[in-house]
């Protein structure tokens, strides 16, 4: 019996820091690849694929470490076919997208292949939200907006990552646009879930998770938006911090 007791702010039973970090890594790397496929040149696509690959692999490692029985992780793949389990689907999305990203990185590929891999990567990003939506926790399941929020945040963070590496005018507009959508989604989600998940929403606004929530709003969202014109690099770094804080407070608030 091997259990790895990483500090987990929710206690061992909860999904905590490691899951949030994984959501962030997969979301950011994945977002960078998706954006580059949609809007960037061949060269950049391959570079972004590398980042997405790193995110997917690191994220998967964190996921495995978070298990109560990490050494049994192969059961996820060899244990049978369970399409009703979002966790099972996600495992396959991770595996397939990882392989696909390797392929894109390894050699020049056609647009078609890149789009196919982009579809897999989009599934990885989306499943992290659907995983939460499919639970019995009101803060996660009461509104249909978590997938919107996670996709928008992935695009923002992925765009910021690309900005950090090679700033570009088009990227800037994209990051700003997606950040606005993201902000709107956070607000709508909180309003939507407040009636059924008061405890969670209050924990975010004024409770134990307020630091993460307001940290996101101010540091990870507001300031980068204001700085976007002058300090692209700083804005990008703060956006990345914000993307992590967002995942963190969403994951924890669902378990308040």
């Amino acid at each position: 019996m091997i259990t790895l007791n990483f500090p987990n702010p929710m206690g061992e039973e909860g999904w905590g820091l490691w899951v949030a970090l994984y959501f962030f890594l997969a979301g950011t790397g994945g977002g960078a690849y998706l954006i580059s496929v949609l809007y960037c040149s061949q060269e950049r696509v391959r570079r972004a694929a590398l980042w997405a690959f790193v995110g997917v692999v690191l994220g998967s490692v964190l996921l495995i470490l978070d298990l109560g029985q990490p050494l049994r992780f192969a059961n996820l793949i060899l244990g049978g076919v369970y399409p009703s389990s979002v966790m099972w689907l996600g495992t396959w999305f991770l595996l397939l997208s990882g392989a696909g990203l390797l392929w894109v990185m390894a050699r020049p590929t056609s647009r078609g292949v890149q789009y196919l891999v982009a579809f897999l990567v989009a599934l990885v990003v989306a499943y992290t939200a659907v995983l939460l939506t499919a639970t019995a926790r009101p803060f996660w399941n009461a509104s249909p907006l978590l997938p919107w929020l996670f996709l928008a945040s992935s695009a923002t963070a992925g765009g910021a990552l690309l900005q950090l590496l090679a700033p570009h005018e088009r990227l800037k507009r994209l990051v700003v646009g997606m950040a606005l959508v993201e902000g709107l989604m956070v607000a709508l989600h909180l309003l939507w879930t407040y009636p059924v998940a008061q405890g969670a929403v209050l924990a975010l606004l004024v409770g134990p998770l307020a630091w993460a929530f307001w940290g996101f709003v101010v540091l990870g969202w507001g300031i980068p938006l204001a700085l976007e014109r002058r300090h692209v690099g700083l804005a990008a770094v703060l956006t990345l911090v914000g993307a992590f804080l967002l995942r963190y407070f969403v994951v924890l608030a669902g378990q308040v």
Partner: protein, 258 residues
């Protein structure tokens, strides 16, 4: 709907005296450790189910709108759902229905991902930190598979708990509700007939389920997931196209092509 011949437990709140004999019997038979808890001012203890408390009575007291005091007890434990969210969410098949409709976790294949913990609307499955796997009520599968009753049912001194075949217990529950309604409990009902494809543990209640802290609107995990995928698909399409449009349009404006 559960199979008519499935195993089932009937909990009759109108007969329960809140003595916790079931709770203690569960601990004893399943060899579950006691827990350190604090007095929180109520009778429920432990306050919630855990990996070593698979069954715990909950207590609700207060005044009704008409000034009548009430003091209600209700069983808190796995409902052995037919469309069980824990089973649907398990990525390894460790959580599964056994012969007779009982839901148990196979501790040798569970990887401890805790998907089932998040999925259960009754908060009935929990993570065992020491073993790295989850634990929950097994309906005393080791007993019932050998022709005995579950420990909780055996221990109940007031016949508030009955064990049997689903069909019989369902009829019994409905009969009991008829009697209660005739006796002046107009809100008496059976809980668990419709929830999650029908649960193998049925409750006879004298009041609305929410009065007992039971979730009124439970949904199958599959439906929630489908909703999530649909939402994600729409989100990806709308945002992808929206972005493309904005970025391209702006580019075009700049180029003076309008």
């Amino acid at each position: 709907m559960p199979n008519p011949n499935d195993f089932a437990i009937l909990f009759d709140a109108s007969r329960c005296i809140g003595c916790k004999a079931c709770q203690v019997a569960c601990k004893q038979w399943n060899d579950l450790e006691a827990e350190h808890t604090r007095n929180a001012g109520g009778y429920a203890n432990p306050p919630k189910l855990t990996a070593s408390t698979w069954l715990a009575m909950r207590y609700y007291e207060g005044l009704r709108p008409d000034g009548e005091p009430y003091f209600d007890f209700v069983r808190g434990a796995c409902m052995h759902c037919t469309h069980a969210p824990c089973v649907a969410s398990c990525p390894t098949g460790a959580m599964a229905h056994r012969e007779g409709g009982v839901v148990t976790v196979d501790q040798s294949t569970c990887i401890g991902c805790r998907s089932c913990v998040r999925a259960c609307p009754y908060d009935a499955v929990h993570f065992d930190e020491e073993r790295g796997v989850v634990q929950k009520c097994t309906m005393c599968y080791d007993r019932i598979a050998n022709g005995d009753q579950p420990a909780c049912v055996k221990a109940c001194p007031t016949d508030a708990l009955t064990f049997g075949r689903y069909q019989e217990l369902q009829a019994l529950a409905q009969e009991r509700v008829r009697v209660l309604q005739a006796r002046g409990y107009p809100r008496a009902s059976v809980y668990g007939l419709k929830e999650l494809g029908g649960t193998h543990v049925l409750y006879v209640l004298t009041d609305h389920p929410s009065q007992y802290g039971l979730p009124a609107a439970v949904r199958e995990a599959e439906k929630r997931a489908m909703g999530g995928w649909l939402s994600a698909g729409i989100a990806a399409a709308v945002m992808g196209m929206g972005l493309k449009f904005i970025v391209d349009r702006r580019e075009a404006f700049k180029g003076g092509r309008g």
